[in-house]
Amino acid sequence: MKSGSNLERVLTEGKFAVTGELGPPRSADPEAVREKLQYLKGMVDAVNITDNQTAVARMASIAASAIVVQEGMEPNYQLVCRDRNRIAMQADILGASALGIRDMLCLSGDHQVFGGDPKSKKVYDIDSIQLIALVKKMRDEGKFLNGDDIDVPPKMFIGAAANPFADPFEFRVYRLAKKVQAGADFVQTQCIYNMVRFREWVKQAVDMGLTEKVYIFAGVTPMKSLGMARYMKNNVPGMDVPDWVIDRLKGVEKKKAASEGIAICCEQIEEFKEMQGVAGVHIMAIEWEKRVPQICEQANLLPRPTF
């Protein structure tokens, strides 16, 4: 075992894995983390803890992850390249491991112009692929980036993100290959709505032998409403929302749109379970954690394996 995390065990046992997501609060209140977490208990194998998502300052992902550990659940600690240089990142990776965090997700991070501090100074000392390689080097070689020895190396199951829908499409699978080459153990994708394109991307990954080296999680976000679907289609970078999604939500009464959104999500999950090359699903119910139990139930993902 590389990190001995719950997620790693679920995957190495060949079980279809499930991850959830929790955005830390814009406050110092640990109860806000615990409150969201209660909906995810027993529903998912690990919970992504976002790192200042959308470039807005929030409770540190490492702190919220530590609270998740205290609560007996497993965090997938997200770390973005936007805000920290290699000194701070290496320190945080050691600190995260010391706090019992065993999964982490290496990301570039949304550019700060999207957030609350568009004139803050960007860092990007290293990029997401270099971060993956850095964590791998620390874990497997017991070395810092500069080659110095680490007495007790961190234990981390290394995650990366992939967006099969961004440009240029034909390069996307090669970018996945670069992340695998750098040392990613698992990959979580951007929210999938365009199933045609996703199937094609996964097939490419299978054909290139990548799915034998990395576990791919298909990302899903249930639509709460027609308005949300339209917003995601038109305003969220890197999001590909085909018209059929809009049409299905349009086709039901307004108060039934949420159920329809969940139904779409569960149908997708059922397909992912059967899709060659897909090892799990990553459920990003944005500010809608309380519906995760329903989704897991309806998509026949329960009970989650225990060890």
Binding site: R82, K122, K178, G238
Partner: protein, 226 residues
């Protein structure tokens, strides 16, 4: 060239408040080319400053002089005969020019009239775009002649990130994604293999003040203790 733009008149008035004899110094180099700090701009600015002072009932005398380049000692030396009568110098050079003047005339306050913006190119008349961040470790040989450090909003060495859509960068629909452009150009040149290797974390140059002495001149500036 270094591209700069003039500060607001309000900013300049605030800097010059209380000074009565100002020497405005233009630069015939980059800032002249980007129409921010050449002889014409010196004259225009002095006229504006005088008019404003007059409107506000203040006393202000201005002189203007444009040197060939504010970053060269022999050109800056031409100012020696002019600075005696002034109580402030307003430089229309880049930040390097301002500092070089301040270094030569340490007894006189030297103020910047411009904000230096970037190293760029002249796309068309009055249209300048950034192209280089002087990072000290050029990778343009591998990136189809497009600088990812400068042209990618995140400065990624292993791009593109997950953001580009319809060829534009996630930060702005009018900004092309540098890595999509790099991809297209390398594809055209049959050099896509350059996109496949994982580029390691770079060693950043320029983390302390830069200084270069050419080998051929080292003997001039290095003390030989032997």
């Amino acid at each position: 060239m270094i591209v700069a733009e003039i500060k607001s008149l309000e900013d300049l008035k605030r800097m010059l408040e209380g000074y009565k004899q100002v020497l405005t110094v233009g630069c015939g180099g980059c800032t002249s080319v980007c129409l921010a700090g050449g002889q014409k701009e010196v004259n225009d600015l002095n006229t504006k400053l005088m008019l404003t002072a007059k409107e506000e009932g203040a006393t202000l005398e201005t002189k203007g002089f444009t040197v060939e380049r504010q970053c060269e000692p022999q050109f800056v030396a031409e100012l020696d005969r002019l600075v005696g009568s002034c109580d402030a110098i307003l430089s229309m050079g880049c930040g390097a020019g301002v500092q070089f003047l301040a270094e030569r005339y340490p007894d006189i306050p030297v103020f910047p009239a411009l904000n230096s913006l970037f190293v760029g190119i002249n796309k068309d008349v009055g249209w300048y775009e950034e192209r280089c961040q002087c990072c000290g470790d050029c990778v343009l040989d591998q990136t189809g002649g497009i600088c990812p450090r400068t042209m990618c909003a995140k400065g990624l060495l292993n791009g593109p990130c997950g953001g580009p859509q319809d060829g534009h960068c996630e930060v702005d629909k009018d900004t092309p994604c540098a890595w999509v452009q790099i991809y297209e150009r390398l594809k055209k040149q049959g050099r896509l293999d350059n996109m496949l290797e994982v580029r390691p974390a770079r060693e950043w140059e320029g983390q302390v003040q830069g200084s270069v002495v050419l080998d051929a001149y080292k003997h001039r500036y290095t003390k030989n203790d032997e």
